[in-house]
Symmetry: C2
Subunit: 96 residues, 2 copies
DNA sequence: AATGCTTACGGGTCACGTAATGATT
DNA sequence: AATCATTACGTGACCCGTAAGCATT
């Protein structure tokens, strides 16, 4: 499981539409399908029901969605924390 | 930034030793060096000071470490949530 | 000489875009 | 016909293991 997969998954879960999710992610549609498929395979869970031209999230998908948002939010926080620490260190060096 | 990189980073941060971290991760040492290097490049921050046969975590590294643990913990929780939802759904199918 | 990290390099896997296919309306 | 997702396929990037290089003790 990688952050890329969770990012794609959240996009599809929010759009409930693979093409729109792909546009939002700036990638082609098959790339999204592939990552969702791999994620489902790894977890052993179907995350979306694709039936009748309609994409619906499953119960497992809904459960994953909540946690995925937390993961991605903390990932963003991690990046910011590291970058902010650099700026603080840089400022301290300049000040001495 | 990917979960793999955070996992490698946490291992090095806890061991303060690339070889031992690699052993713990069941990968070769250069793989760890490469991922740390890429992570540092992407964040624009040095995470470890490798000097005098000693690996020390930087201030930015320490900041990233805290957040990385949260990310990885939530990633584990996400997997469990999805798998548990599958089991509940399976049980309901068998009962219902 | 021994230890530890990095660099170099080759191979297998992976992610992605384009194109084609299947399915539904 | 139009729309949407999947499958097929080729290419470039990526991850990793082995081997070599460099520095320190």
């Amino acid at each position: 499981m990688e952050l890329r997969q969770l990012k794609y998954f959240v996009a599809v879960a929010e759009e409930l539409h693979f093409r729109r999710a792909a546009e939002r992610l700036y990638v082609a549609q098959p790339a999204v399908s592939e990552q969702i498929r791999k994620l489902e395979a790894e977890l052993g869970v179907r995350l979306f029901d694709r039936t009748n031209r309609r994409v619906a999230i499953t119960e497992a998908g809904a459960a994953l969605l909540e946690e995925s948002r937390r993961v991605l939010a903390h990932a963003d926080a991690a990046q910011l924390a590291a970058r902010n620490a650099r700026e603080r260190a840089g400022a301290r060096l300049r000040i001495g």
